[in-house]
Symmetry: C2
């Protein structure tokens, strides 16, 4: 595995060494909320360039946050899935959603989902985690969210 240079052994610093950038958690947002798990779907992430996307996916693979398998529904294509370590990142992504939805003017959060996250954070997170565990473990694509 390619080694990332550690700034310290602090758990927060080590985490940010892996996903402390503008793109990585956005790619995970697409996994979690939109079920975009093929490279050619992920290029729709906010004008990401293909080389940045490839770099970030590789970093996620190297750090065992995502895995990559031949798509059983299209053997010429690869399907990315979250590992257990990746699924553990879901609360971080939802906390960031919550912060942005509550604190940034002009954001496009769905008001129903925002209210649900604000009032039932643990329930919402746990439901999303359960759905991802099911859909990412069997290699099939969940076609309706």
């Amino acid at each position: 595995m390619k080694q990332i240079e550690r700034r310290s052994d602090c758990p927060i610093s080590l985490s940010l060494d892996i996903f402390g950038d503008k793109w990585t958690l956005l790619i995970l947002r697409d996994f979690i909320f939109f079920n975009n798990r093929h490279f050619n779907e992920l290029v729709t992430v906010e004008k990401i360039s293909t080389n940045i996307l490839a770099d970030r996916l590789n970093r996620l693979l190297e750090n065992d946050i995502v895995k990559k398998e031949v798509d059983r529904n299209n053997k010429s294509s690869y399907l990315y899935s979250l590992t257990e370590k990746g699924i553990d990142l879901i609360p971080i992504v939802i906390e960031i959603y919550k912060w942005g939805a509550n604190n940034i003017d002009g954001n496009n959060a769905n008001s129903e989902f925002k209210n649900e996250v604000n009032s039932n954070f643990n329930k919402v997170t746990s439901e999303i985690v359960d759905r991802i565990k099911t859909t990412h473990n069997n290699g099939n694509r969940c076609t309706s969210l």
Copy 2:
């Protein structure tokens, strides 16, 4: 206020436009866990350069996440504090701590605090939020953590 270019109106993307980098949340870690709130204390953040520190503090000020006031205990110095919007970021920082402590080999998490975060996340977060609200609102420095 200096405008950050928006990649989209998604709350996650907008949030990462502000703090999606290797340093910003580490600076906030120092505010939250170590009560380091002066520039000359924050330069101890993992070998951060003074120009990056100044840039990130300015971005936090521009986005109303921190405020800067003359330190009443040392009038030649400025004291940074978290605003309400900054205090709202605390759960994100603690989720990142939790993920790193549980998932990255060789991290130096204190095992007692890690267990407490794993078993009583909401309680730990709420206690930290309450402490920061008290210490950052009155402009005084909390000398013991």
